[in-house]
């Protein structure tokens, strides 16, 4: 009886509507949080922070963002890379223009700027649907990357065309720039990821979330029963882009430190985040984390196994990775469209009855 819900009765609608209705889930979730905030920072070294944990958390934020738009509201976007770039460049411009303001505020403002840009590119969604819209978001992707490449104002006329994060600190502790400790990077990203995940959960279980899902499941019927499609879609674009923008800002300022736009935020990034939510689970916050973890860990694992273990060339390992990712996408869409999150739910269903399934 590892997992039980017997005797866990609800006496109010508030208790029934909470995020983790089963007490066991609640306790495990609290344990994970304590571990993540209280224990991991003391253990984390440079390799783990930079190769696994920090990219995982940043991609998780981007994946939640895209999941709000695609998984909840049903609007497929291939512009994630471009919107991450908006977050990164907005953050850079703010950091260099107002050095005395806290970088955390800059990151949030960068998200807000991205939300506005996202809304702008979301306007066509009112007339264009399905993969027409997906292709239209490619316009955002290519145009934005081109813009940041070609207009020197965005990179402060630096000779290399790159942007690099100046050193900034929070409470006297460096969080951006070369001197940042791995655990500080990790903690900043963790705080953003947890806070934003909590907000995403709230939004998706309330009235706005139901409007998004209604648009996703049947847009015409949704409008006839009273969902304002303009408002639902634009809020989804705005909030989704906010998340993606924050992820872009964190990726630039905290994780990479210096960025060349085509390389860091190209169309491949858009596909990568899309794959994360397909593999993790469309329409699931937990799935966003699971998918991000999976696709961050996969190359690390393959590198350890194939390159370091078997002595393959990195190019060959990269090609194998492409094949595996592609095959997994098809596999999940064919076998389990709700991704890892659904597999996890099924496992829980089984555990609930274990060891007496009958």
């Amino acid at each position: 009886m590892l997992y039980r819900e017997a005797g866990d009765f609800k006496t109010s609608y508030a208790a029934d509507g909470q995020t983790f209705p089963i007490a066991f889930d609640r306790r495990r979730y609290q344990a994970v949080l304590v571990l993540a905030f209280g224990v991991v920072p003391f253990l984390v070294n440079d390799y783990w922070a930079n190769a696994v944990l920090v990219p995982f958390l940043i991609y998780a934020i981007a994946a939640i963002g895209l999941n709000i738009l695609t998984g909840y509201c049903g609007q497929v976007s291939l512009g994630t890379g471009g919107f991450m770039a908006v977050g990164a460049y907005a953050c850079y411009k703010l950091m260099t223009a107002f050095p005395e303001v806290s970088v955390l505020l800059h990151i949030l403002l960068a998200g807000t700027v991205t939300a506005l840009v996202g809304m702008l590119f979301g306007i066509p969604s009112l007339r264009i649907k399905g993969f027409y819209l997906a292709v239209a978001t490619l316009a955002a992707q290519f145009f934005l990357v081109w813009l940041f490449n070609k207009v020197p104002w965005f990179y402060n006329h630096s000779a290399s065309g790159q942007i690099s994060a100046p050193e900034r600190s929070v409470l006297g502790l460096a969080v951006t720039g070369a001197a940042t400790a791995p655990w500080a990077k990790y903690l900043v990203c963790l705080a953003f990821a947890v806070g934003l995940a909590w907000i995403a959960r709230n939004l998706t279980r309330g009235s706005l979330g139901r409007q998004w899902m209604a648009i996703r499941d049947m847009d015409i019927a949704a409008e006839i029963i009273g969902v304002n499609p303009l408002r639902a879609k634009l809020t989804a674009f705005a909030i989704s882009s906010f998340y993606v923008g924050v992820a872009g800002a964190l990726m630039f300022a905290v994780y990479l430190g210096a960025v060349e736009v085509g390389e860091a935020f190209g169309v491949n990034k858009a596909f990568l985040v899309l794959f994360m939510i397909i593999i993790g689970g469309l329409g699931s916050i937990f799935g966003s984390f699971a998918g991000a973890a999976f696709l961050v860990l996969l190359p690390v694992l393959l590198k350890n196994l194939l390159v370091d273990g078997l002595g393959w060339s990195t190019a060959l390992a990269a090609h194998v990775e492409l094949m595996i990712v592609g095959a997994l996408i098809v596999f999940f869409l064919v076998v389990e469209p709700h991704g890892l999150a659904q597999l996890w739910r099924l496992a829980k269903e089984k555990l609930r009855l274990w060891p007496f399934p009958h």
Binding site: G74, V76, P124, R127, I128, K129, G130, F131, Y132, A134, V135, A136, L138, A139, F142, F143, V145, W146, N149, K150, V151, I220, A221, I224, V267, F271, L274, F275, I278, L310, G311, W312, S313, A315, L316, H319, V320, E321, L322, M323, I324, V325, G326, A327, L328, I329, V330, L333, V334, V335, P337
Partner: protein, 328 residues
């Protein structure tokens, strides 16, 4: 005539030629979309894969050489022979048919009745897989593709235009061949779908899956057929692009360029694919010619998408697409 207009005219002509090449990729999309309602994102990678395979057969490369070498410690690269071009094309076509069979068996069969957007995402996965697979099979280095197509400046046109305008136009002979091939392809596809039994079955399926099933057409056989034809179109596109630019990863990006072409032309119209391609080709060349120098160039990266986006706002079904009447 003033020089600027002559330049613009030359740019337009080159744009038309580039547009033909976009149309070739878009054509493959339209075929699959019409027959199965699937927006096949992998079409561009299929072109890349076909070109890689063709070069591989021609030059007698050992498939999976890198993998074999690293697994068994051998050092194989080449069989030591080369294959005549026609035989290599036939062999490549056979590979594309096998691929069509596998796609039907492993992907499409499991996704019957899924939402179009799910199918779309599945083909993105297919594109990734095929790209990795092609790289492992034939290696990721840039290859030269030589199938005996003429290339370089067309002296006839140069001389003729020089005689008329006093300014010789630069038109690549390969582009002219591509235009002819595209025309031949469209004509033969039309003839095939109008006058053969399989062609009629294909149109029946495109029109209504259920009705086609009920008169005894095998949906799955049709899908294999149509993916094979799309494979053939991909091979043609791969040969053209491969000869022009060399066989390399960036070929798969032309697939992305074919998307706005489709949005302009409508997903279900073969003439639409051709005209959409021409519009995109001319549009992006002229835009780069006129506006590019003012904004730092490289506008070709996004012009086609923006054009399609703006266009769709006013006509969501594309130039030739059928008007969508929404019902509840």
């Amino acid at each position: 005539m003033p020089d600027q207009i002559l330049f613009a005219l030359e740019v337009t002509l080159n744009g038309l030629m580039a547009g033909v090449l976009y149309s070739l990729v878009a054509l493959g999309f339209v075929l699959i979309f019409k027959a199965s309602g699937i927006f096949n994102f992998a079409q561009g990678v299929m072109a890349l894969f076909a070109a890689l395979t063709l070069v591989g057969f021609q030059t007698g490369q050992v498939p999976f050489a890198h993998l074999v070498n690293v697994l068994f410690g051998t050092h194989v690269e080449h069989f030591g022979w080369t294959m005549p071009t026609l035989a290599a094309i036939a062999a490549t076509m056979a590979v594309m048919v096998v691929m069509a069979l596998l796609v039907e068996r492993l992907v499409l069969k499991g996704l019957i009745n899924q939402a179009p957007i799910i199918l779309f995402m599945a083909t993105i996965g297919l594109a990734y897989f095929l790209e990795g697979f092609g790289d492992i099979m034939w290696g990721a280095d840039i290859k030269r593709l030589e199938v005996g197509l003429p290339q370089g400046l067309s002296e006839t046109i140069d001389a003729a235009t020089f005689a008329w305008f006093g300014y010789g136009f630069f038109i690549d002979r390969l582009d002219i061949v591509a235009a002819l091939v595209a025309a031949a392809l469209v004509v033969s596809l039309t003839l095939f779908s109008q006058y053969t039994r399989h062609g009629r079955a294909l149109r029946a399926v495109a029109d209504d899956h259920q009705a086609a099933l009920s008169v005894g057409i095998s949906l799955r056989a049709i899908w294999v057929l149509v993916w094979s034809i799309a494979g053939f179109v991909a091979l043609v596109a791969g040969v053209m692009w491969g000869t022009k630019l060399g066989v390399q990863f960036s070929l798969s990006l032309i697939a992305l360029k074919a998307l706005p072409v489709l949005m302009l032309g409508g997903f279900t119209s073969i003439p639409g694919a051709i005209i959409g391609g021409l519009i995109v080709g001319v549009g992006e060349k002229l835009f780069e010619f006129a506006v590019g120098p003012l904004v730092g160039g490289a506008t070709e990266n996004w012009f086609a998408y923006m054009l399609a986006l703006v266009f769709l706002l006013f006509r969501p079904q594309g130039l030739f697409g059928e008007r969508i009447i929404e019902r509840v």
